[in-house]
Each structure stands twice: as C-alpha cells, then as structure tokens.
Symmetry: C2
Subunit: 474 residues, 2 copies
C-alpha cells in the first residue's frame, strides 16, 4: 500500500505550475523538487537518513519549506517544533521524541542548546551528495509528529502518516473543491497542522502556496481582494483584522477568491455578517492535531441558521457522540485519524474500537450538525493556539509560594479566549512575581492574562477542581 | 479499511444538491438516496441480498440508476451487461458470472431467456421491506464487474472494487479539479466504465449527472454552450458530431463549461483545432476496464505539441514500459487497477509484481509522455466500443463453409475504426450470407463492416496470423 512520491509526481505531472511564493520570489513544482533533492543530498551528507527522526524549528520561510521537502524525499520523520515555546518546553519534546538531529533556523539558535542541533546555514553550506529518492511512499509512513497536551499537562507526540495527510487533503477537496489555479495563503504556523496541511495539499493537488513569515492583515486583505490567492486559513482574531482592513479600504473580495477556512472555535456571527458584506465566504472548521486538520466544517449557507455549530463531517469522516442522539464525548472515525503517539505515550491507544475519543463534549442536532459544548481537558483556544490549563497549573504549582492553582479560559475580543489563573498561596508573593515566573517557563501565549490570589479553589466532594465554577468567577 | 456508505454520506452532507437529471426531471442526493433505499427494500423482498451477485441489463434511464444505487445499498456485486450484445454473448457472461438474479429493463426482456430474470417492472411493483443499509463499505468490496475480451476471444469478467472506483475518482479530481457546481453529461453507456465511473464520481464528489438515454449531438452542443453542464465524456465520433453542431449554430462553449473527456484512442488533431475554435477544452484519455477508467490524460496545452500521445498518468498511477526508455509492453500500477477476474478466469493473476501488464505496446518520451503504438490483442476501438478480432474470428470460424478467417481494424471517419474480415472458404457461400450469420451471433458494432473472400491469409513461419499484413490489405 503505497503512494507515488508526491514531490516527484507533482514535478513530473505539473512541473511548470507555481508551488510556492514568498514575498517577491516564487518556485514551480519542478524547481522546488530540484531544491528538495539538493537539500536531501545535503542532509544526507550530514548524516540524516530515512531511519532518522529529526526535529525542525523555524519560522515560516522558504528555507523551512526546502528543509521539510528535503526530509520528505529522505523519508525521515519530522517533529514539528513550535517556535513560540520556551526552551524548557522544547527540550521536553526533543527528549521525548529522541530525535537524532534538531534542524534549527539560524535566527532561532538561542532557543535550543543541544549537541544534536544542525543550523539551516550548515545545511545550506553542506556539500550535497547524489541522492536517489524513494519513488514509493508507504501509506503508513510517519511524515510528521506534532506535540499536543492533554489532561495531564504532558505534551504527547502525535504521529501523522502519509495516509492521514492524503485522506485529509482528499476530504477537503471533496468538500471545498479544487482547481489547478488555486493558491492558498498560509499565514498560520507551518509547525501546526493548520499550516503543515496546506503544504501537504499543495503537493497532493499541485496547488500554489503563498507563504507569509508573519500574518499581515493588510496584505492578506489586499491579496483576497485582488484575486492573487483563492484560499486562506485563519482563526477568529486574524479574520477580524482582515475584515477591518477590507472594510477600511472599502474593498470587496475578488471573484477568484474562494474561501476562508476558519479554525480555533466558532466564529462570532458578527464577523460572519461582516465577511458576507465584504463578499468573503467563511467556512468554519473543527479539527485537531489527532485528525490531521479539518474534521467537520460549517458551510457559509448554514452559518446563520446554525450559530455555534461546528458543521458536518468531511466525506471520509464519521462523527458521533458516545450515546447516539445525546450529549456526550465526541467520537471520530476516518483515515485521517492518527494511529498513535510516540515517546512516553507510545503505548497509549489513541483509538478505541476504531474511534478516536476526542475528550470534547458535544451533540449532533436532528439534521446532523455537530455542536461542541465543552472542550477536551477544558482546552483554551487562544488565537488558534491550544492552551491546556493543566500545563499552566503544573508550572505554577511548582513555585515555592504556591499552594494550589486553578486555570481556566476567559473570553477575549482579540484572541477568542485567554488563560486566567487563580492561586492560593502558602507564602507571600505578588501576582506580578508569579507571572514573571510563568514567562520564564511558558510560551508567551500560555502565560495567564490575569492572575488572582484567592483564599480557596472551588472543588467537588472528591476534591476535583471545578473548572466550570472557576469560569463563573471570571 | 472502509469508506462511509457513499449514498448515505452524500445524502447527509449535500442532500439538497442535484444528483441526477434526465430530460425534464431531476433528483437531489437526498431524494435519490430515499429512492435507492426503497429499491434496496424491494430487491430485498425479491430475495436479493448482500451476498448476491446480480447482472443488470438496461438502457441509460433513471430506473437503471435507481436499480444500481439500490444494489449499492444492498452491497451486492453487479455484472454490468452491454445491451448491444447478442443473446448468445449475454448468455456467456451470465453463466460465467453465475449470477443469482438478472435485473432486466422491460424493453430489453427479449434479450435474455432465463429463469433468473427479474424485470424492472417487477422490482418497481414489489413491496419494499424495511431495509437498513450498511454504513461502512469495505474498500475491497467488489462493486461492479465488466466483461472485456482478450487474445482468446473469451470475455473475462473484471472486478472493480470500492477502492478502485474511489481512487479513480480522486485521481481524476486531482487532475481536472472539482467544484460543488459540477454537472457531468453522461451519454456514454452506464454499463461501460466510461459511464459507470461518472456515477461513482457523482456519489464521491456530490456532483450532478445529466443523463441521456441516447447520445444527441445537438442537445449536447446546446448544453455545453448554455453552461447547464460542465463536463462530458465522448469518443472521437461523438466529439466530431458535437463540434459540427456547435459550428453550424455558430455557438461557443459557455464559460461555465470545463472539459470534454475524450476516450477511445487519440483524437485527430483537426478535431482538436475545431474544438479550440469553439472554446471547448478537450482532454484526451487512455484507460481501460482493468484500470477503472482514465489512466493517463493529455492536457489541452500539450495536444498539438504531442500529437498522438496518451499524455501523462493521473496522480495515483504509475506507468512504465517493460524496458525502461524503450518501446515495450505498457505496465500500470495504482489503486485503481482491478484485483482480478471472476468466473472461468478467476485464477488468472491480473497483476505481476504489482503491475498490470496491459498487452498494449508503447513508450514514454523524454518528457514522460506516453505513446501507445500498438494495442493489446490487436484491439479495434469502434465508436468507443472495444472489438477484439479474435472474438469475431471465433464466430466466423464456426461457420461450416469457412476454412479460416482473419479480422483487423480499418480506419473509419465516423467510428475511428471498424472491423473488417478476410475469409478463406472450404465450401461455397456468399459474403452476405456470412455477414447475416455474424449479425445473429454478434453485437451489431462487432459485425465486420466488410468481408472479403480470399485465397489465403498472411501467416508467419510458425503459422501465426500476421494481422499487420492484413491491415495493409485494407
């Protein structure tokens, strides 16, 4: 059970089509394949081979894509590191994954102090050896590994196979459609499934990617309105900024522009109405690292009628709740679902009876629309980033002045949600000191937006923290 | 390894979209699913079940689609009978397939005299029983069986699985693109892979099918030019008639019309130029029953530059020749390739080392374009129908007055090719008598267009018929 090598096949079948564009530069599939082969040869010279597992840490630049595609040709597993994580957080993932190499963009070299580091500059300067790529890729080959936390606060490395990515790309195409002229604007992180899946779709569809190092609302608005891109992935906060830019310039989306794919929780209906006025179709999507991106989507036509819904599954997915027709844990089945974890959690079964137990709570209405009513492990989604309360609680609990701590999400106009913390002290300390401590240990988006010192935390009879009551305190 | 039931899933996900249209009637995916469930219940009442193998014989009408979709829900294997075959030819396939039921459109009932026949009228009148469709389809489930002949003149029943059809539909989408607004005009036979694959794409994409009972050049031209359809499958002869109609009416293809998919051998460059003048993009395709339709396609942009080429493979296919870079037998690999035959040939391996050996001879040029230089078993393709010389020779040889016979293809302006026969007699008989005999035994399109009585046939040293020399006689 194999696929033809996606890079080679695309170069062969649509070599002259635009594969990647960044600022003023662009590369065709033929050109990018040549570069990827060269990078594979360079990595090979540095000792990376098909049985290597490598970690990659970079910003969204063409060099990052070249390294990823070089690794794809080589056949090695890639652990996608989040550049916003603290050094401690990165070290945990690198060690759990037991990687052979850590490929790091020069600008991020201070993030990782490890003998396994190879800087992008060293890769570029390496003397490429002749390299013959595998022409067949096994379907169960692990392409990427992304860490995601859970109830325990310990991030788990989620495997995403060639079949996961392929099925996800196909299901998306069967939902949104594809044409040879499509260009997807990618200003979401490549180390997240939201961005990585754009690259996978690019190779599978023969579709152009317009890559941004950083999200830029005005430029995104400009490209949506002049038709130089057809798709864009956003979260609520970035959508809002694009809409403001389009509105301020009194522009309208180009006829060539097709759809905004909006993740990270339901989009406020006010945004949906503003988008409609700008001629911008917005498809809301619910998905996760374990399902290799989109699982369900809410069509534009249903957005008003089904406010707050996550929509219906993509073609190859099935979604149900534990007890049919009732509120319960959301279960997902399909070829996009990860086969499991690596590292410390590699023994943990990710599927039960073929179904992924998401931990999210929801229900399907009588028309089969999914509503997510409570998220796994009290997940906070802040500007598209997943933030797990347990992870922040673990850090704060370790502070000598802290007796106990509870974290929950608070609504935020900009970010959708932000984390806030409630702390019971055992020694004197200021909230500011505790926040400074958090900033050392955690990625900035995980640092509580507010930290309140309280007398005690709401707990139930068996002493379990009642996070719902915490949220009522907000 | 399963798929969600395609009919149920499409009804759930895009129930309100148009699934089928015929003359003035149309049905949405929700409606057609309800009908299909009703037909499944009726067929169930008549004794058909998921372990049944049924043969289906009908013209391209909505009822035919309802029966097919009912069978899909039931999970039974469908032997697709060619309504143009003679009763003898049909009997061979029915017996080889050992079907439990033969579902026959009322208008064709004189074609089959068999106790297993159930007429469509009987199905419609049956009292439907409550029926719960399978919600999961195994990937290796055999959906359809189509007979195709070969060197021996004995038709072999080719299995096409759910995975074959799904992969074929996906590969086509990755090549041509898909959008939710697509409507495919189907005036090619549903019992051939060319037509059947349109139905499969419809279910997988959620795409509308505009069904014609008979090809109609003027109506097809009208629909291409008014934009009520976006795709159409043709062979050379039907393309030419459509072009003539468009030209006579001084029309142009609608902007909404996307592509003509042209099978049955290379399209004359004169047609390609006429199509271009009419604004009609023509994609030439090479495929076969064993590959579940399209294997390679020649893009519009390459048509003039690569006259006579069959193009490049679809994304999930690999194509090579036996000796790399040289003329040789064409080998094909991919998830669209049949796992094998049924009946008398069920033991025959269809793949060797994972590759389908097509019997066709060809080469790949330095850019990777496939050229087919000689077709399997001296195959004659006449108006899109495959005609195997050996099959006609077998029939004529059985005539008491015939000593030996050789059949080959002759060029035809209308049909691309037509079969012609050369006969050596052992008793007195006229050519007209022999042709009348053929008409009793063979589908009309297989009856030689011309039959010449000769002294001897060209044979080589080992007495093998030299069909190339025969062709030189034409």
């Amino acid at each position: 059970m194999t696929y033809p090598n996606w890079l080679s096949q695309r170069s062969y079948l649509s070599g002259e089509r635009m594969a990647l564009s960044f600022e003023q530069q662009q590369w065709t599939f033929s050109e990018i394949n040549t570069i990827a082969l060269d990078y594979a040869g360079k990595l090979s010279a540095l000792g990376v081979n098909e049985s290597s597992r490598v970690a990659v840490l970079a910003k969204s630049t063409p060099e990052f894509v070249f390294v990823l595609y070089g690794c794809l040709h080589l056949g090695c597993e890639m652990v996608m590191l989040n550049e916003r994580l603290s050094s401690n957080e990165l070290a945990y993932q690198i060690n759990d994954a037991e990687v052979a190499f850590i490929l790091v963009a020069n600008v991020l070299k201070q993030k990782v102090d490890d003998s396994r580091v190879v800087l992008f500059g060293e890769i570029e300067n390496a003397k490429s050896v002749q390299f013959e790529p595998q022409q067949q890729w096994a379907k169960d080959r692990t392409i990427s590994i992304m860490y995601t936390s859970g109830t325990t606060g310990h991030p788990k490395g989620v495997r995403q196979t060639a079949e996961n990515h392929f099925s996800s790309a196909v299901s998306s195409a069967l939902n949104i459609g594809i044409t040879p002229e499509d260009v997807w604007l990618c200003a979401v992180p490549l180390f997240h499934i939201s961005g990585f899946s754009i690259l996978m779709r690019s190779l599978i569809y023969g579709m152009g990617v317009r890559l941004y190092e950083k999200f830029d609302a005005d430029q995104s608005a400009e490209e949506i309105c002049n038709g130089s891109v057809t798709h864009i992935s956003v979260v609520g906060v970035t959508l809002e900024r694009i809409l403001t830019s389009v509105e301020q310039a009194s522009m309208q989306a180009s006829d060539r522009f097709k759809v905004v794919l909006a993740g990270g929780g339901p989009i406020p209906i006010a945004y949906m109405k503003r988008a409609k006025n700008c001629g911008i179709p917005v498809l809301q999507t619910y998905g996760m690292t374990e399902t290799s991106s989109q699982t369900t989507t809410l069509q534009v036509a249903d957005a008003e009628r089904k406010i707050g819904s996550a929509g219906k599954p993509l073609f190859l997915y099935e979604v149900k709740t534990e007890k049919l027709g009732e509120i319960g844990e959301i279960l997902i089945r399909g070829p996009q679902v990860t086969p499991g974890y690596i590292g410390k959690f590699s023994e943990r079964e990710v599927q039960q009876d073929g179904w992924l137990h998401t931990g999210d709570i929801g229900y399907l209405d009588d028309e089969g629309f999914l509503f997510v009513v409570d998220r796994r492990s009290d997940l906070i989604v802040s500007g598209g980033e997943n933030v797990y309360p347990a992870e922040i609680e673990k850090v704060l609990s370790a502070h000598p002045a802290v007796q106990e701590v509870g974290v929950c999400g608070a609504p935020s106009e900009d970010w959708g949600e932000v984390p806030v913390a409630f702390v019971v002290l055992q020694k004197e300390v200021t909230a500011e000191e505790l926040l400074a401590y958090c900033r050392e240990q955690l990625a900035s988006y995980k640092v509580p937006n507010q930290l309140t010192i309280v007398e005690s935390l709401p707990r139930n009879a068996s002493n379990k923290l009642l996070r719902r009551e915490l949220r009522a305190w907000v």
